[in-house]
Amino acid sequence: MDVRVDRDRCLGAGMCALTAPRVFDQDEEEGLVVLLDARPPEERRAAVRVAAGVCPASVITLTEHGSSPAA
């Protein structure tokens, strides 16, 4: 799974950092999303899919690769 974020459209609502804290953080000044791990390991992918789904600005995009079932 490849994870991408679009900081330009991020609102800093923090749903990502709340849902998948090992993969997303927020920077200190602007509170915008910071991607900690663009290729999260298997055990974190479910949380990442939830985060992408709840992000209020839909700025998290996932590219699933063959090995794991697509969400």
Binding site: L11, G12, A13, G14, M15, A17, L18, T19, P21, D25, Q26, D27, E28, E29, E30, G31, L32, V50, G53, V54, P56, A57, S58
Partner: protein, 420 residues
């Protein structure tokens, strides 16, 4: 909301009436909760959601727009930039609004702006409300919580939980965060309450708004002169906000922080006291708190209604929403949609309620949600654990409900407990 003359956005080009494929007759917004069901959305919303999740709706001013009740529909509209939040484009869904669209949003009221104006304000503030920053406040929240519980124990048994606990905690926290002296609360609490009331006259609301502005203007002048180490002090020192913008934002944040979490604490406690098994589950397992808070947010949806206006013709669920038409979003109906949440009318603290719309969705999703989460996660279990025998002191039917407020909840919650 400010009491200025409104400009009507509809012109001949955007208004085309009578063309819709929605089959039913226009409805009016259901607002009456069934007797004995203080936690359920107004009667009639469930039927609408099932049959017509996007229905034609007649507004009290005569405008014919829409009412959205289905979770996917409401969520889609909140996330769609073709729908505007500008007040001057919106028709008020509750009785007592102006004839025609609302007056435009006062300076600093972010909920009434679209991008890019909204983006500018949001960007200035998001860094102050991150998950991490709010978690750093947990210890302070826990401290205040214990102080209030001590005071309650000394004064009780038999208190109004709203006055004794639910209101002071969020008020103290938002005051500390913003740098507003809590001792001044007589000067702003009443105004904030009036602004949030749905059944006050526009004149009274305007007067309250002016009162809050006057208070904030004094405070902002003081912060400019000597910036303190708090949110308003930071903004006074570092941001490019004008005095007027700073006053507007400060008043808005203060009002938003005072009434919302307070109602979640009080109404959440009311719900838990009527479902003792759920309360016991939370008492027994503190780790359940974060999830329990999400479920209470979903189940109670105290910020029950939002409104948007279509900027262009939009096709949605096979229906055509025309430019200029208002769409009322029933967040409370959406959060009880069985398509999204199985057995939606059951309060189940163990369910995964992620994806609820209790804090909204899209670019206006609640800025203060991480603060609210910290407050609720700390306050609710602490209250239950301190008073294992906590119970209502009046029959549930006698608890006065905030059916007259844009934030639902209870006006008072008389509770008691056995002395240890």
């Amino acid at each position: 909301m400010q009491n200025v003359p409104s400009t009507r956005p509809e012109n001949a080009e955007t208004v085309k009436t009578g063309e819709t494929t929605e089959p039913g007759a226009p409805v009016t917004l259901p607002t009456q909760r069934a007797a004995g069901c203080p936690f359920d959305p107004p009667a009639g919303l469930a039927e609408l959601r099932e049959e017509r999740p996007l229905a034609r709706m007649t507004y009290p001013d005569g405008h014919v727009g829409w009412l959205a009740t289905g979770h996917s529909t409401v969520r889609a509209i909140m996330g769609d930039s073709r729908f505007s939040s500008r007040y001057e484009l919106l028709h008020y869904p509750f009785p007592g609004g102006p004839e025609g669209p609302l007056p435009s949003a006062p300076v600093g009221d972010m909920t009434g702006m679209d991008a890019p104006e909204h983006t500018r304000f949001r960007r200035i503030l998001t860094g102050k409300f991150t998950v991490r920053r709010m978690r750093q406040l947990s210890d302070r929240v826990a401290e205040i919580t214990e102080e209030r519980l001590d005071a309650m124990e000394r004064g009780g048994p038999g208190v109004d939980l709203v006055e004794a606990f639910a209101r002071p905690l969020p008020a103290l926290m938002i005051c500390e965060l913003l740098g507003v002296p809590y001792a001044d609360r007589e000067r702003f609490q009443g105004h904030a309450h009036t602004i949030m009331s749905m059944d006050v006259t526009p004149e009274d609301r305007y007067a309250a708004f002016v009162g809050l502005q006057e208070y904030m203007a004094e405070l902002v002048a003081a912060k400019r002169a000597a910036p303190s180490d708090d949110l308003l002090g930071d903004l006074a020192r570092d941001s490019d906000l004008t005095d007027e913008e700073l006053v507007g934002i400060g008043g808005f944040l203060l009002a938003a922080g005072l009434d919302t979490t307070a109602n979640m604490i009080a109404h959440g406690t009311f719900a838990l006291l009527t479902e003792p098994a759920q309360a016991d589950a939370l008492r027994a397992d503190p780790d359940l708190a974060p999830q329990a808070v999400e479920e209470l947010m979903r189940y109670l949806t105290i910020a029950h209604t939002s409104v948007k206006s279509a900027l262009v013709d939009v096709e949605l669920d096979g229906l055509l929403v025309r430019a200029g038409e208002s769409v009322t979003l029933s967040l409370e109906a959406a959060n009880r949609d069985p398509e999204r949440f199985p057995d939606p009318d059951v309060l189940d603290l163990h369910r995964k309620a992620t994806g609820h719309l209790g804090f909204g969705h899209g670019i206006h999703q609640c800025l203060g949600q991480q603060l609210a989460r910290v407050e609720l996660t700390v306050a609710l279990p602490a209250l239950l654990r301190r008073f294992p025998t906590l119970r209502l002191d009046v029959p549930a039917e006698e608890v006065p409900l905030r059916t007259d407020m844009s934030i639902y909840g209870v006006h008072r919650l008389p509770v008691t407990w056995d002395e240890a």
